[in-house]
């Protein structure tokens, strides 16, 4: 049963991944990426990482992708832009190299395909095994330092993003704000 779901989900992932890469309109790419992420979350659940799946959906699909969509809207691409060729000149070389690379990685890791392994799932199912509890335990004891550092990293990223995205004078978005302010001032005086 889990095998069929796995295959289904993986097919979904791969298809939507390909679609992400090949769409001209970035909005479409974003949407398909969301699909991919959700499918990956499903894989996570299959692999017994429920907490991670939820985190994935919250953070990735709910946060990062929203961010992407905002950005696409902000950039405000016109129709003619989209008509332009979207694929780089070097695509043939890239496909070739990446194919080879994929082959290689498979070659490295294939021997393990042969051995089916016991996931020990059955054993765990017997216990009162909670993935979230496990993750939480490990996170706050063994991996405390990385956890704190990750939070600092997020703060820094936030500050950086705000700084980089700030409005300057002469900026299209900024001008509208300034015009509005000036208009308000004129109305007042």
């Amino acid at each position: 049963m889990s095998g069929i779901i796995f295959y289904l989900l993986s097919a979904c992932i791969l298809v939507s991944a390909i679609l992400v890469v090949t769409r001209k309109n970035p909005v479409y790419s974003a949407l398909f990426l969301v699909v991919t992420i959700v499918s990956i979350a499903g894989i996570f659940i299959l692999a017994g990482a429920e907490f991670l799946a939820v985190v994935q959906i919250f953070v990735y699909a709910g946060g990062v992708m929203v961010l992407y969509v905002f950005l696409i809207m902000l950039i405000n691409l016109r129709k003619p832009e989209l008509k332009k060729r979207q694929i780089h000149n070097q695509w043939l070389v890239v496909v070739f190299v990446c194919f080879l690379l994929g082959l290689e990685i498979c070659m490295l890791l294939i021997p393990s395909l042969v051995q089916p392994s016991d996931s020990g799932e059955a054993a765990r199912a017997l216990q009162d095994f909670s993935n979230t509890k496990e993750v939480g335990k490990k996170l706050y004891t063994d991996f405390l330092l990385p956890f704190e550092v990750a939070s600092v990293l997020l703060v820094v990223a936030m500050i950086g993003a705000v700084l980089l995205g700030k409005k300057d004078k002469g900026d299209e978005l900024g001008d509208m704000e300034l015009e509005k302010e000036n208009a308000t001032e004129e109305m007042v005086s």
């Binding site: 890469v21 950039i75 332009k84 060729r85 890239v94 395909l113 996931s119 820094v156 980089l164």
Partner: protein
């Protein structure tokens, strides 16, 4: 059918390759970033597959951190794109070639 580690690895590899192709081929910078996210996810699949195989939780924790870092990186990257977009109103990677010899 038993899902072995190999399946997870295979899946992760293929997804990674797809992401890499998109990263190296696409002209639109936003699409390039999205391919990057794909690659991150492929890695996550890989790690979770290993974690599932060995019955250990470490892989998942690693993946969590990767997700966190990916989010931060996406935020900063997109802010940079905005900054660049103010100077040159284009989203084509091809046109950012000031560093050309």
């Amino acid at each position: 059918m038993i899902i072995s580690l190999g399946h997870y690895i295979f899946l992760g590899t293929v997804l990674f390759i797809i992401g890499m192709v998109g990263f190296l081929v696409r002209r639109n910078i936003i699409t390039v970033f999205m391919s990057l996210e794909l690659m991150f996810n492929a890695i996550g699949i890989n790690l979770v597959g290993f974690s599932h195989h060995f019955g250990i939780v470490r892989g998942q924790i690693f993946t969590m951190f990767i997700i966190a870092v990916a989010a931060a990186e996406a935020a900063v990257g997109l802010a940079i794109i905005i900054a660049i977009f103010r100077n040159k109103p284009t989203v084509n990677v091809d046109e950012f070639n000031i560093m050309k010899w």
